[in-house]
Symmetry: C2
Subunit: 114 residues, 2 copies
DNA sequence: CAAACACTTAGCCCTTGCGCTAAGTATCAG
DNA sequence: CTGATACTTAGCGCAAGGGCTAAGTGTTTG
């Protein structure tokens, strides 16, 4: 479990890094509408195919998408579950705030008692 | 409104970039527990103060934290609302999936009718 | 089987990001 | 007013990121 959470933390980094690029976020959005070939995806961006492929590989190596090649065409599919990393991070953040609010409340209550 | 959404989209990028660094995410987490001085924050990381300050400035210029200097000490506070950018992005993503699911459903229904 | 297609690989360029040291400024403490 | 404190500025070094071209590989297609 300690190892798992460490691993999760490490991998989380890659997800955030992958999401830092607007092109990659756009790809994710596009793939939300369904699987798409690399060529079709690339056509929507003003960069060359090799450059675009780097983004695809980044997304894949960080688990945000999966790809399969059939014949000469590679199809990309979104891995929705992977975004849970971000969701979890936000949730943890909220948990921390709430804990703080609780502490403040207890503090105020104490003040009132004295 | 068109300008606002463009601006929002542009600024969103900065937020994601800011979150891509583990040190900066840690700072956000730490600040969730309450305002802290730069020095106190920096002490928790294995980097020099000038290096750390860059992270602070990145976080501030992207609206994730706010800082005030009183005397010689600069205090950082979290700007919780700013993380809504991420929340919104996730929400939009979910919206897109749902739309897709709806389309698929309609498609299946049509198939059944014919 | 030749040519078109859909990537892929290799390698270069340039900017940006993140880290460092050294030195500077502005409080605060004595 | 001297020294410690808490940043701040300036500038350097290096690795990584994102873009490009040119050339290569493996699949169709005519």
């Amino acid at each position: 479990m300690a190892i798992l959470s460490l691993m999760a933390k490490h991998e989380a980094d890659g997800v955030f890094v992958a999401l830092a690029d607007p092109t990659r976020r756009s790809v994710i959005r596009r793939l939300g509408r369904g699987p798409t070939s690399v060529g079709e995806l690339a056509a929507e961006f003003p960069i060359t195919l090799p450059s675009f492929m780097k983004h695809v590989r980044t997304l894949e190596s960080n688990g945000l998408i999966r790809t399969v090649k059939t014949g000469r065409v590679r199809t990309c599919v979104l891995n929705r579950e992977r975004l849970a990393v971000v969701d979890d991070w936000l949730a943890e953040q909220r948990r921390i705030w709430e804990e703080r609010t609780d502490r403040l409340e207890r503090f105020v209550t104490q003040e009132e008692q004295s």
